[in-house]
């Protein structure tokens, strides 16, 4: 980065949020959310639609005023110092928000001029992405493919050399290959010292972040490094494979000691109620139970939990309007 940082800036957190709360009518979108982000961190908010990710981002980028609590971004209060703060923030909303009738170049030129700069002056900063778009510089933004739109939006969010970048669900609805490429691109910006705040509904993307916050129904379920979060799972998780996965799932739900059982790709992830019991003993019992139910060969192996396992465990019982809390996927 060529922008000189204020002396001591590194000592100061990039974000400090304290008790952020936001209601829309009867709906509590955010409920007492507190966390801090260090400068240069890639920090991810992981959670499904409706968890409150977008509301939180809108407060942090000064577009929405919280009902309670406070947020300091780059040491500036997000409510009282919004004009000053906006100069240093890059924001890419989840919904495509550029001008569809302007060309690629016109959009970029517009965003540069709003911040009192030019494409030429900032070329070095945006080159890694813009070089992939230059062949289409005359094309209207509306006529770009999804991936190209996203790259243009990222260019526009970076053209004024922000110190902190907010990306709201940049990979939602994007295929697995493009998602990887996007994260590889982000890693290049991270290397320049940029603080990146990103949200995603894809749990597997947590491992791309230095730290993550799991968010659900307006509350943070956990804030830590992906590794510490998976280590916090607190009980033995088993991967179970069977010839007939669907029948195995139904059978394991009938096992009296089942705490949870969920399909995960080609396996089932199982936890037992009896925390004290040895994994070998549990595995044996499961195999015997399966064969008593005519299920055939069952492979049961202890495994390291994923972020998604932790998320589901902390989400608690499935949220059904009528039904009582159910065991595993109902």
């Amino acid at each position: 980065m060529t922008t000189p940082l204020v002396a001591g800036a590194h000592a100061e957190p990039a974000i400090v949020a304290d008790g952020l709360t936001k209601r829309f009518g009867d709906v509590v979108a955010l409920s007492g959310v507190s966390f801090a982000v260090a400068p240069g961190e890639t920090f991810g908010f992981i959670g499904p639609d409706g968890a409150g990710k977008t509301t939180l981002f809108r407060i942090l980028v000064t577009l929405l005023v919280p009902d309670a609590g406070s947020a300091r971004v780059l040491g500036m209060d997000a409510v009282s110092r919004l004009w000053e703060l906006r100069r240093h923030i890059g924001y890419m909303p989840g919904r495509f928000s550029l001008y569809p009738d302007l060309s690629v170049e016109e959009n970029l030129r517009f965003f540069a001029s709003v911040f009192g700069t030019t494409i030429e002056r900032e070329y070095e900063q945006i080159a890694p992405i813009y070089s992939q778009l230059e062949a289409f510089s005359d094309r209207r933004a509306a006529a770009l493919s999804g991936g190209m739109k996203q790259k243009l939006a990222l260019c526009c969010a970076l053209v004024h050399r922000p110190r902190i970048l907010f990306l709201d669900e940049p990979t939602t609805g994007v295929d697995a290959v493009s998602r990887r490429e996007f994260w590889e691109l982000l890693a290049r910006f991270k290397a320049t010292g940029l603080t990146v705040i990103v949200s995603t509904p894809y749990m597997d993307e947590a491992r791309r972040c230095d730290r993550v916050a799991l968010i659900q129904r307006g509350q943070l379920l956990a804030v830590d490094t992906p590794r510490a979060i998976t280590e916090s799972f607190g009980r033995t998780l088993f991967a179970v494979t069977a010839a007939n996965r669907y029948r195995a799932l139904q059978t394991l739900r009938e096992f009296p000691e089942t705490a949870s059982v969920y399909p995960f790709g080609e396996t089932l992830h199982y936890t037992d109620r009896r925390v004290e019991r040895s994994p070998d003993a549990i595995a044996d019992e499961l195999r015997r139970f399966a064969s008593s139910r005519g299920l055939g060969e069952l492979t049961v192996t202890p495994m390291a939990p994923t972020i998604e396992d932790v998320f589901m465990a902390r989400m608690g019982a499935a949220e059904q309007p009528d039904a009582p809390a159910s065991r595993g996927a109902a």
């Binding site: 499904p48 969920y262 399909p263 790709g265 499935a318 949220e319």
Partner: protein, 251 residues
């Protein structure tokens, strides 16, 4: 001869000089859960639009539930269900009103419709909110309701276009249980997703790359043939070269 509910032979669709779907041949068997995967822009949506009778092919043949896509697109629409993340239900209507609307469109007899409605709402645990607007429901509940509504007229095939996008991990799995139930009841399911773990839940999958089917088979067979650990890895193996090519072409 198999009991295929979807049969496509050299199915092709061009838009001007662009070949969106390039002569694909595949079958989906009756009662199968078929994962229809591919990168963005690979041609999945174009294929689905042809198979649901919304878009005429440029060349090739296809039949869906025994009806020809060129001549019998109206008959196809009666025999299929469809839902996507973008459009599924009317947000301003209640669950009950949505069900009645779809029941009316598919001409389901009144007492029968009432019976199916009660069963569905109870099964989904939505009886208490049956008169609330659908827009006020959490996405996961809405998507489960949308799938049930798409199955209301007992279609032979249901097309699900990214039905679980953005849905929380527990509800996502409940949604898949509804898919399995439909499949066990004999409904053929064609589903697209960007969650690669969900690809593993399918009986068979196909992976489209640049308008063609680059791989088709059971998840286990495909992984084994490619020496891939997961469908995610296989997907990247197949789709990445095309994506690099597109990026190179753009320069």
């Amino acid at each position: 001869m198999t009991d295929a509910t979807i049969r496509a032979t050299k199915l092709t669709r061009r838009f001007g000089s662009f070949v969106a779907v390039d002569g694909i041949t595949f079958e989906v068997r009756s009662g199968e859960v078929f994962g229809f995967l591919g990168a963005n822009g690979a041609g999945k949506t174009t294929v689905i639009r042809m198979l649901t009778g919304l878009l005429a092919p440029s060349a090739g043949q296809a039949s869906v539930a025994g009806h020809d896509v060129y001549r019998e697109s109206e008959a196809i629409k009666r025999d299929i269900g469809y839902m996507s993340q973008r459009f599924s239900l009317y947000d301003d209507l209640s669950p009950l009103e949505n069900i009645r609307l779809y029941g009316g469109i598919y001409d389901i007899e009144r007492t029968e419709l009432r019976r199916r409605t009660d069963t569905m709402l109870e099964r989904l645990g939505l009886t208490r909110v049956q008169n609330d607007s659908v827009g006020s429901l959490p996405l996961g509940w809405k998507q489960k309701l949308a799938l049930s509504v798409a199955l209301l007229h007992r279609p032979r095939i249901v097309f699900l276009d990214e039905p679980t996008s953005g849905v929380d991990p527990i509800t996502r799995r409940q949604f898949w249980e509804l898919i399995y139930e439909a499949s066990h009841a004999g409904t053929t399911v064609l589903v697209t997703t960007h969650y690669m773990d969900e690809a593993e839940y399918c009986d068979r999958i196909s992976i489209m790359v640049a308008g063609r089917i680059a791989a088709i088979g059971t998840p286990a067979d495909l992984k084994q043939a490619a020496g891939a650990e997961s469908i995610d890895e296989l997907f990247v193996q197949l789709a990445r070269p095309a994506s690099d090519q597109a990026a190179a072409g753009a320069r």
